[in-house]
Subunit: 219 residues, 2 copies
DNA sequence: ATCGGTTACTAACCACCGGTTACAATATAA
DNA sequence: TTATATTGTAACCGGTGGTTAGTAACCGAT
């Protein structure tokens, strides 16, 4: 049987993936060359192209796992019935921030996936679908904390606001040399304050909006 | 006299700067090569190294002007006595966002300037000083809208929160293909909502904090 | 046992990058 | 006119991501 060849191939593929994962995490996507990955994986750099279309495809494949895990985390936060709607959004924000700081390369893939690619095939689509699902989870969380009957368009707007905020936090420290635990020890309370401000602001603004809308409907 | 040479040299230098400015704005720093800049400037790529240490120094020199203009804009917003403190912070946020979206490369320089460089000389320091001054302006704006007697440490924390937010907006659309006017037409009201949420959240959170602090002091 | 085809892989190469060096042309000062 | 800066370039360096032509090992079938 062809098991011998098959497993050899799978091992090489896995070695490439592991090596690339470690190196990307250590020094970032641009800071790592295909030759380095190959050296760490114990093959020539051309062998990588047998298993992955190009460097970016390698990164994409590495990102899908963590991103799927993030999706599960956000879904869990969204479904936590022991929390108020606002607390659920806070939990989602916290997890999103922690994820972004921990899996910097995966986060980058998530953000940089071009929305409207035509010429590509699978991997970009997978990431795009993932991104849409993540944003949908966020929207559901936001919708639950807004007054009943808030129109979809407003839910979308508030979701964007939340995204801007947490994305800003992640981006601010994405390239920091500081390890995540140290970063959270130093700035965790600032991040919490940030979420405080965000949620309080949404509640207040949305309430004012609802009141305006209500009185306008009455008048 | 040496005017002939001097002006020739100045012209070449300026041609390089103009070409690089246009190309960077069009296709981004990484998307442009020194050879392209040289071609557009009408010289060989090695000539660029006569006037600029390296590609990054070219970008830095291009960024100093716009960043200084931003500083003036923020200072003007901060000094606008016709506005309430919160409105002044809103004006600063608006200008910061517009700047970030309009001068994407300069913005990038501002954000990426490594804080603690040892081996570098002038240009990095200039950008760093600029960044510190910009953040100081923001802090003064925030301090004015917080309750009297808010400790510096809290002012800093709230300033970070504001920065996270506006930075998140800029980062979200930094790589968008959309032109700035189109972007603002489509999302300007979302950005305004975002600033609404941010300012309302700060006021509410800071008030709650002050009350806690006050009652604690009283008790 | 061996032969043909598939699989797994690589050496050599491509065009290009940012940056350096050794050298030519020209304008200026003496 | 001659010596010296100034201004510029061609050729090169080590490196990149990626391609291609070719090889060695394995596999199933005769």
């Amino acid at each position: 049987m062809a098991n011998r060849q098959r497993s050899r191939s799978a091992e090489t593929r896995q070695a490439i993936l592991s090596a690339a994962g470690e190196l990307f995490a250590e020094r970032g996507y641009d800071g790592v060359t295909m030759r380095e990955i190959a050296r760490a994986a114990g093959c020539s750099h051309t062998a990588i192209y047998l298993y992955f279309k190009d460097k970016e495809a390698l990164l994409h494949e590495l990102a899908v796992g963590p991103l799927t895990a993030l999706e599960a985390e956000l879904a869990a936060a969204l479904g936590d019935v022991g929390l108020t709607p606002a607390e659920r959004v806070r939990a989602m924000g916290r997890r999103f921030i922690r994820f972004g700081l921990t899996h910097r390369n995966s986060y980058h893939v998530l953000m940089m996936a071009r929305a409207g690619r035509v010429d590509e095939e699978e991997p970009d689509l997978a990431v795009n679908a993932l991104r849409n699902r993540l944003f949908a989870l966020l929207r559901r969380g936001i919708a639950a904390m807004l007054p009943d009957g808030t129109p979809d368009e407003r839910v979308l707007a508030y979701s964007r606001v939340v995204f801007f905020h947490v994305h800003g936090i992640v981006e601010t420290y994405r390239l920091s040399e500081e390890a995540v635990p140290a970063l959270l020890a130093r700035l965790g309370s600032t991040f919490e304050l940030s979420l405080d401000v965000l949620l309080a602001g949404i509640e207040r603004t949305a309430a004012a909006e609802a009141q305006r809308g209500g009185s306008r409907r009455e008048g």
